[in-house]
């Protein structure tokens, strides 16, 4: 039965991807990308990757759609020219696809517990997590503690992207593509979305906090929570207008959030050194090493969540306020 589900979802995914590439209305392409993201998230869930499915749904179907629509509002909505060298590209792409499909026949059997990828390091992580860290979610344990350096680098990548977008979109003249009164008005004259939005936003924020702090016990963590909280505030900005949203969370606060996230993460690492251990060694944060690990993971996940929220909101405001 799961086999049929999987094949159905994957076939729908391929059809959606072909439709995305073939349509020349970019608005339609962005909407179809949201559908493709949800299909991929469902497929991830079938493949036992619950955390990844949550992240793909929150980031891919939620934030990515908003960012693309924001960019489309500032550029054109339709794709104009026919593609160049269509036949040659198609032949090259088809040949590469056939070579890849031929290569897949050599892969280990799907789901084989004796495949090299399953027997190398993974059993060590699955065995040592209850011993060293003692939290149920192994993915959070590996992300936060065993592979903490990688996550630190990744937080800095997100921060850099935020700074990059702010640099790009704060210089130069604006086209005035969207008139200022339209931006500031939001959806003020539409009663129903405003009322329902006002009812929902507190619950979305609460759910975001739940996902943030529940990351150790189930699917969740900093990335997903950051995306969900950013989505709630973006909803507020869409409903009430840019001016009101910027008065609630001014740009300085957003920049502060963007900076404080990596700062918190780095500070936890430095605290490890100051207390006698190595950089990002959480065992020395408390008298009991296991409790120290849990405290460390809690703090760095908070840092990740703050960074992702700040960066996504700063990027959204950079796009949305561009018409001025």
């Amino acid at each position: 039965m799961i086999v049929i589900f999987g094949i159905f979802l994957l076939t729908l995914l391929v059809i959606t991807a072909v439709a995305i590439v073939r349509t020349d209305n970019l608005f339609v392409a962005v909407m179809l990308m949201g559908i493709a993201s949800l299909l991929i998230a469902a497929n991830f869930f079938l493949l036992d990757a619950a955390d990844v499915a949550l992240t793909e749904a929150a980031v891919g179907a939620g934030i990515s759609t908003v960012l693309f629509l924001g960019a489309l509002a500032l550029t054109s909505e339709r794709e104009r020219a026919k593609s160049s060298n269509r036949l040659l590209s198609f032949i090259v792409v088809a040949a590469a696809a056939l070579i890849l499909i031929y290569a897949t026949f050599d892969k280990p059997r799907f789901g084989d517990p004796e495949a090299p990828v399953q027997t190398h390091v993974a059993p060590w992580y699955l065995e040592k997590t209850p011993e060293y860290i003692d939290i149920p979610n192994v993915v959070t344990a590996v992300l936060g503690s065993f592979r903490g350096y990688d996550t630190l680098g990744e937080v800095f990548v997100v921060f850099t992207a935020g700074i990059g977008v702010l640099f790009l979109l704060s210089g130069g003249k604006a086209t005035g593509a969207v008139p200022e009164d339209k931006i500031n008005e939001g959806l003020r004259h539409h009663l129903i979305p405003r009322v329902v939005g006002r009812v929902l936003i507190p619950f979305i924020l609460l759910f975001g906090l739940y996902v943030q702090f529940h990351g150790e016990y189930g699917p969740g963590g900093g990335f997903q929570a950051g995306a969900i909280i950013a989505a709630a505030i973006i909803l507020f900005a869409l409903l009430e207008g840019e001016k009101r949203a910027l008065s609630v969370l001014p740009e300085r606060v957003l920049l502060g959030l963007m900076a404080c996230g990596p700062l918190l993460y780095g500070a936890v690492g430095l605290a490890g050194i100051l207390l006698g251990g190595n950089f990002l060694d959480y065992s020395v944060l408390s008298s009991d090493p296991v409790k120290g690990q849990q405290l460390g993971i809690l703090l760095i996940e908070a840092g990740v969540g703050i960074t992702v929220t700040g960066v996504l909101l700063a990027i959204f405001h950079a796009f949305a306020a561009r018409g001025r």
Partner: protein
Amino acid sequence: MELLGLYNYWVFAVLLMIGFYAVVAKRNLVKKLIGLSLFQSAVFLLYITMGKVEGGTAPIFPEAGAAVFSNPLPQVLILTAIVVGISTTALGLGIVVRVKEEYGSIEEHEIQEIDER
């Protein structure tokens, strides 16, 4: 189960090439970014498919008893990769917006014409 596994890999190959075709053959800059995003999603699909263990569940320890778990390491990698992917897409979109403001168009051949003048 074997058919599903091979089908996963075939869909990965097809999706990868569809995204790549959009990057290479389409002239609109936003379409290229959309193709790049599809390309990234195909790679995520490959990694997560490789991590599945048959009869396994998500790598979260249940209240009682041991169970067979799927591999957590590809999931950690892809979790990071998804967020990095959206960051680079946002940066790319910022560049596209600025290109539109400076050149007046986001079609590749028109931009090249304006550049050559």
